[in-house]
């Protein structure tokens, strides 16, 4: 047991570290809830000092003292026994809070243990425990509480035991589901592989992850327990020897406060109950928010705030829409920023490239180099907080950045479609795959009838190699490769001129990857579609792309036709990237890795973003951001070494 307690320590420090309280209080709900609860607890603690009278000491009362309306001596009047309501209210806080906290602690201990054991052990143990939980859950709590308290006698301890002993079910279910997900995490598996025992794993790895949830659950349970105690007391099953808010209500109702018009005996305890319940609920909700941040919203929301300012930097010259002719897509000076405390973070900086009809362009780079943000930006699909701050995206001569959201929708999906990496999350699990394909057709071509759309969807499934018969299957009945095919079918639904494929094969096996790439290449030939392929796989690029745009730190560092880029890379980053990529045909070639990490958005180097990792860095690189120099033949590189006026410099430090 000590091991468990000791092991839980990091989580506790997590809870009490200074940032935690700040984060909690910064939320209005957290600040208000915490404040309300602190007031209630302070009142309970200092009842002896705050209350004008001691309600447990019965003074001599006369009939005139009963239900006296509020006066200076009795700020909230008197009750049926002629006692001061305010004092009873203050002392009542003690009982109500003790019941609330004790019962909720019990709830979390019982529910937590059952949920933890059920979630961690799984199998038969879990089945038995969870069926038992379900059984307890369906018992009408109040009815059973009444029966038990009536039998055991209404003492404070019995009331706590009854409330705690019946209220743990939701905590058990919550903790179990959380435990299940933690148990599946890799670091738990790793701990098992190390040879750690169950007690160690639970104490060190599982419990710290679910403790925040348990804390939030406990705070929420306080309000439920106080309500339960009040209900019990209200129907006369409270502990008669102590004063609680429920008890006050009970006496007031049963002893004629209503007919006496003594609202002061009824409203204050009711208000007090509402106060504490509201406070704990607010605090509990805020705690859940702070400790258990939910998944962020899906990143595919439309970009609400496009602010076009004059392009800066040294991108290609702006193109007048009427002069745009041969390329299908011209991206010019695209710049994307994300909101962040302390100003916008620039994720994509002055990106320009062209895509001609039927051409396949690869967008490559390490993770977080801005390639996905670029394609989301050019279709204005950025997540909340992200926006295109400057640049032009001319699609078939039309500036997508200047279109209304409504006009843009007719372009997106219909003329330019996007295929994402996570095909499972992009398909709706509760609809048949075929219907989802048909839906895309009907959204973009409302004139098409249901029957025709379904027929076309079946044809599309056939074309991408899934087969007409699988129209009615649900996404979970598809394999990973088939889901990606279904995504491609949806993208093809309206015969787009451009397909943007964001890491379409990354999570797939090589053989399935080969099938998907073959499919995309075939479709591109068949329909003359242009493709933008976002990938980190240089092998894929070499095999299927006509042009390559290499990105680093949110910028284009090199752009060339595929054969030239691989044969004669100009930018040091491209060279290193190529040297790091394995070639199964040449296993004897030693692989290099690029030292260091890509720059973080909030810590971009002042000069060339690659300078800190560059083996050919020299003094000017540290202060000057090189623009993309045109090297002729549609080839560009953003490196001072290829600057037309450049003369070989003295290297300031020689790497390896």
């Amino acid at each position: 047991m000590t091991a468990v307690v000791q092991a839980a320590a990091p989580a506790v420090t997590e809870l009490v570290r200074p940032g935690f309280l700040m984060r909690l209080v910064r939320r209005p709900m957290g600040a208000i809830g915490l404040g309300m609860l602190v007031v209630a607890v302070a009142v309970a603690l200092f009842a002896a000092f705050l209350a004008p009278y001691d309600p447990y000491v019965h003074a001599h009362v006369t009939i005139e003292d009963v239900y006296q309306s509020p006066t200076a001596a009795h700020l909230l009047g008197t009750d049926d026994g002629g006692n001061d309501v305010l004092s009873a209210l203050i002392y009542g806080a003690r009982v109500s809070l003790i019941v609330g906290f004790a019962a909720s602690l019990m709830t979390v201990l019982i529910g937590g243990t059952i949920g933890l054991v059920a979630g961690y052990r799984g199998g038969g143990v879990s089945t038995v425990l969870m069926r038992f939980t379900d059984f307890v859950l369906v018992i009408p709590d109040l009815a059973l509480q009444i029966v038990i308290v009536a039998i055991l006698g209404p003492s404070l301890l019995n009331i706590i035991l009854v409330i705690g002993g019946l209220g743990w079910t939701s905590a058990a279910r919550l903790v179990r589901s959380q435990t299940l997900s933690v148990r599946e995490r890799m670091f738990v598996l790793r701990a098992r592989a190390i040879g750690a025992g169950d007690l160690h794993i639970v104490g060190r790895h599982v419990l710290p992850q679910i403790l925040p949830l348990m804390l939030a659950t406990m705070v929420l349970a306080v309000s439920l327990a106080i309500l339960a105690e009040s209900s019990l007391a209200f129907i006369g099953l409270g502990d008669p020897t102590v004063i609680s808010w429920g008890q006050m209500l009970n006496f007031a109702f049963s002893r004629g406060a209503v007919s006496a018009g003594a609202w002061w005996a009824l409203l204050p305890p009711g208000f007090a109950i509402v106060w504490v319940v509201l406070g704990t609920t607010l605090l509990g909700t805020a705690l859940e928010d702070v400790l258990n941040p939910r998944l962020k919203r899906h990143h595919l929301e439309r970009d609400r705030s496009i602010r076009i300012t004059e392009p800066e930097g040294m991108g290609w010259l702006r193109v007048e829409p009427q002069h745009a002719d041969s390329p299908l897509l011209r991206v010019r000076g695209l710049t994307v920023e994300f909101d962040a405390p302390g100003g916008g973070l620039r994720a994509v900086h002055d990106v320009s490239f062209d895509v001609r009809p039927g051409e396949t362009v690869g967008l490559v780079g390490e993770s977080a180099c801005g390639k996905t943000t670029t394609v989301l930006g050019l279709l204005r699909l950025l997540p909340p907080g992200g926006r295109v701050t400057s640049g032009q995206v001319l699609f078939d001569g039309e500036d997508l950045m200047a279109l209304s959201e409504r006009d843009l929708r007719s372009v997106r999906g219909k003329r330019a479609a996007i295929v994402f990496q996570g095909a499972m999350s992009a398909l709706n699990p509760v609809h048949r795959v075929g219907d989802q394909v048909a839906e895309v057709i009907r959204i973009h071509e409302p004139a098409v009838g249901r029957r025709v759309a379904e027929q076309r969807a079946r044809d599309l499934l056939e074309r991408v190699g899934i087969g007409r018969k699988r129209y009615g299957d649900y996404p979970h009945e598809y394999s990973g490769g088939m889901r990606q095919r279904a995504m491609i079918a949806m993208a093809l639904a309206c015969r787009p001129d451009l397909i943007v494929a964001d890491e379409p094969t990354t999570a797939l096996d090589v053989m399935i990857q080969a099938q998907i790439l073959e499919l995309l290449a075939g479709l591109s030939r068949e329909f003359g579609m242009a493709t933008i392929l976002v990938t980190h796989d240089l092998g894929v690029v070499a095999q299927v792309c006509d042009r390559v745009v290499v990105m680093y730190g949110g910028r284009v560092v090199e752009d060339a036709a595929t054969p030239r880029l691989f044969a004669d890379p100009q930018h040091p980053y491209t060279k290193l990237l190529l040297a790091s990529f394995p070639d199964v045909l040449h296993p004897e070639r030693p692989l290099q890795s690029i030292p260091g990490s890509p720059p973080r958005l909030d810590a971009m180097p002042a000069g060339c973003p690659f300078a800190p990792r560059c083996p050919a860095v020299f003094d000017r690189c540290l202060t000057f951001k090189p623009p993309a120099f045109d090297l002729g033949d549609g080839r560009r590189a953003a490196c001072l070494l290829v600057e037309p006026t450049h003369r070989p410099p003295e290297s300031i430090h020689a790497h390896g």
Partner: protein, 340 residues
């Protein structure tokens, strides 16, 4: 030849399958999921063996069996001459120290609330290896240095989120190395890492084998990452090893049609070498419904009639090279792939 430190002997692993409605109606038991159907190999100290195959081929099941995390339906794992099953509790704990594992996802396999020093010390504490706090610190520093995180003091007090992907995977490696294991099982150690830092982790594994004489089993779906780093390759398909042997030899001259197809679809970073990939139709069959005969025959581009009934065993075809295909029986060679 050096004695192998770990040997898999004819490992078979069946999982209980889901009973379909038809099975229930006909009162048939659910067909078992045949994750592994007789897998044998050995790994010598200082050797890197790559288990290569697509998802569902049984490579992760093999790893879990080697680690003793699963009990095989048949067959056994032998570590240093003694089977790992039927050991006493203490022997089992001892055995766990000899074998360590590195996982695929360095972002997931580190507890986000633990500092590097605690992550690396955890296995020492679990096995009560360190004799004193000073000894523990010493061992932790040594493991971090071995994993290429030097000087160790810089990293001790960092949290995982403060490290890059490559550094995280090095921390995982250091935690595995702290117990000075003789066998290291690396399950897709680089597939979640950026290409630019894969080489450093692969180089690390390679040098652990060469310099520390650790036997490394590397599990991967990607032939190109193992090409330069593995001594031997075992290609798996649907619960079997279909080809095994010297890595360079297999890459240069694959003798099983599946190996050949798998090799042909690996994208090569050389546009001048655009190859005609031999893309197999369909997907790996459901391991609950393994085809009769050779399990690869429904997708095999060179299958013969007898492949539907004959289930070929591994046939030695050269020095440290064996393939399970009827076409290489009796000294035959795999015919060139028909142009497709």
């Amino acid at each position: 030849m050096v004695e192998p430190v770990i040997v898999a002997e004819d490992l078979v692993m069946h999982f209980r399958g889901r009973r379909s409605l038809a099975d229930t109606v006909r009162r048939r038991p659910a067909p078992p999921i045949q994750a592994l159907a007789g897998v044998s190999f050995g790994v010598a100290p200082g050797e890197v063996l790559a288990l290569v195959g697509e998802s569902g081929c049984g490579k992760t099941t093999t790893a879990n069996l080697l680690m003793g995390l699963l009990t095989p339906t048949a067959g056994r794992v032998v570590l240093e001459g003694r089977p790992i099953s039927g050991r006493s509790r203490q022997e089992l704990a001892r055995m766990r120290r000899e074998m360590q594992m590195i996982f695929q996802d360095p972002y997931e396999s580190l507890n986000p609330r633990m500092r590097v020093a605690d992550v690396v010390a955890e296995p020492l504490r679990v096995h009560r290896v360190a004799t004193s706090p000073a000894d523990e610190r010493e061992r932790v520093s040594r493991a971090l240095t071995q994993a290429g995180l030097a000087p160790a003091q810089v990293y001790l007090h960092r949290y995982p989120f403060e490290l890059s992907g490559g550094q995280r995977q090095r921390v995982v490696a250091a935690a595995a190395l702290a117990l000075e294991p003789r066998v290291l099982i690396a399950d897709e150690p680089v597939s979640m890492l950026d290409v630019s830092i894969r080489a450093e982790i692969l180089n690390l594994l390679r040098s652990l084998a060469t310099d520390q004489r650790i036997a490394v089993v590397m599990i991967t779906h990607d032939l190109s990452t193992v090409a330069a780093y593995a001594d031997r390759i075992a290609v798996m398909y649907l619960g079997r090893i279909v080809e095994i042997g010297h890595a360079r030899r297999i890459l240069a001259d694959p003798q099983h049609p599946y190996t050949r197809a798998l090799l042909s679809v690996v994208p090569v970073p050389d546009p001048s070498a655009r190859r005609r990939p031999q893309v197999l139709a369909g997907e790996t069959p459901d391991p609950a419904r393994v085809p009769t005969g050779c399990r690869f025959h429904p997708r095999c581009p060179v299958a013969l009639d007898r492949c539907e009934t004959d289930d070929p065993a591994l046939i030695t075809i050269g020095e440290d090279h064996a393939a399970a295909c009827v076409l290489v029986e009796g000294g035959g060679r795999l015919p060139p792939t028909p142009a497709g």
